[in-house]
Assembly symmetry: C2
Homo-oligomer: 387 residues x 2
Amino acid sequence: MSDPATRFPASEFRNRVDALQAGLQASDTDALLLTSPADIFYVTGFLTRFWESPARPWFVIVPARSAPIAVIPSIGLELMSKCWIKDIRTWDAPFPGDDGVTLLADTLRSVIPENGRLGIPMGAETHVRMPLADFQKVVALLTPRRVVDATETLQRVREIKSDAEIERIRATCRSADLAFGQIADIAAAGMPMEQVFRDFQIALLAAGADWVSYVAGGAGRGGYSDVISPAPRRKLAPGDLLMLDTGAVRGGYFCDFDRNFSIGRADDACRRAYDALFQATETVLQDLRPGNRACDVHRMLSDGLKDAGATPGGGRLGHGLGITLTEWPSFIPADQTELREGMVLTIEPSVEISPGRFMVHEENIVLRENGPELLSRRAATELPVLV
Amino acid sequence: MSDPATRFPASEFRNRVDALQAGLQASDTDALLLTSPADIFYVTGFLTRFWESPARPWFVIVPARSAPIAVIPSIGLELMSKCWIKDIRTWDAPFPGDDGVTLLADTLRSVIPENGRLGIPMGAETHVRMPLADFQKVVALLTPRRVVDATETLQRVREIKSDAEIERIRATCRSADLAFGQIADIAAAGMPMEQVFRDFQIALLAAGADWVSYVAGGAGRGGYSDVISPAPRRKLAPGDLLMLDTGAVRGGYFCDFDRNFSIGRADDACRRAYDALFQATETVLQDLRPGNRACDVHRMLSDGLKDAGATPGGGRLGHGLGITLTEWPSFIPADQTELREGMVLTIEPSVEISPGRFMVHEENIVLRENGPELLSRRAATELPVLV
């Protein structure tokens, strides 16, 4: 992607900040403090893999009624200056003893009145990316200002993707589609899984991914037992069910979908499981509408699988998608989040083929007024065979 | 790497836990709570790219006098069971309302007496990877037990690498050496930087990297202005100084070094800067010894650059390396950390060639009794030219 930090127009970010500020004002919160790579990218466009270094904290403040302020290590000044943010305050990190604490606290005090409130995302799927001891110092320096949970404010905004965001996720999905299209050159009986994983990542890069933050997979006779492991040395064998799952990234946006393949002829149980997963997904693609809740998707998929005579796997059956590999909501019985137009979601049913042996099927969609629009190319109607 | 979760023998992890427990006992701390990918991998060998999903928190507890306990989402049970940890407690995450909080608090209460202390890394280069609101609930449930900072306990152990760890980092460096060896096929005048970044990642994978968590770089006439940006679309041009920097990963361990290249003939200023960086690094490679402090390396490099008539760049001039792209200590004037045998470090001097134009040089070493041993293949003695 060209100049990812500046590729969205400033209006994209202004719209986001407007929406966040409306939420802050509605919840009587004076400013929002962001510390995570995803949240800071969302507000500023600041995109770097330098987050891999845990050495330095980074901060962005969104006041309820004025422009965002970046409080960052000076090593990031050049890149942040290319973003739309005008107020950038830096310190030379790492700086033992006061690693941005005073600068952050001073900045927060300047935008929050003494009787005011600072919002921080502190709920599900968040964490505060700075040393806890420094966070506690900042909170103490803000006294008597109060610190409140701003998870709702942030997530209700971030979960609705703009057209520009949807096009980015679509582009990432396209790269993964192309890489999956190369699978016959990547995976075959006798091939070590570690080589399959490596070649699949190469195919994703060759297909336009900027980088590949996530590849997982599994393989086993009659199903796989684990879907989060890195590659084992084990060689693929005839009769294996192979799954590859990827979160590639383009322009800061993820895809997250998998594909299943049979190494040689599949047994009947695998083919039946694949059909059940395909049909259950098809039902959601047809019937899901804005206004449904996250738990409704879980029910639709579970019912569809049971109707097909399959045993649904445990865990969640899909989730949000965007700047991180997974976002809220979760398709589980307990999640009542209302699904709205513009949400990008993964539909991810799983079947337990036999005790401890699974198959997981996954597609990426954007929810439109009239229902889901696929962002991933729909999986094959029958379990593909690799010879 | 084959079966990365189990590739180290259990004795490797037992040694680590023994060292951590000695530190806990010496600091009168009853248990250590770990939440980060690096810390959990360090104690258990649990290696997965699933950390890319922020949806679920993961916990490992190291009691001061008994075996470690994993408190994790059930999706990780299969993989954690392949590690050496025997006591694995799971819940079905995500679980709104009690996402591991009760299970974690109950487990901590069972290993910490009421008048006892829980250690958590909360200092520099750490963060608590769980929702802050849930962390506060856990702390409340632990009352009257006290929560104390365990950063020292953890970092003094993790910073000394075992022979097995050093061999893993060496293997990762070798992959990067091989990929840099391909540079003539990757970078040339007219090549867009985004393509260079993509092809360099492909070369790293082809050279044995399991995955590529970090690639950054810069290019510009007479030096580059920024070293943390993702790839711009800009094409390389004759006279450009090109730098590529990588944190590839093998078996969970990073390399972190860069290489500089001139696109066509370099100007005198670039060649002089390169020579100064090479010589300053050479001095450290010759003179550094256990017992020196982190600040000494900064001084050695700065003095060496000044002696060569060069202007040292700002920021730190190297750091620790291992399970994350960067680890403590930092080669800055304020860091008094004693350098000890077995530390893996990056030597990373930079020169400001002209205002806002830099060159950064980086090598990876392990500090031995008699001085540094290179893990990266030493950079070329003269600035390499790509035509």
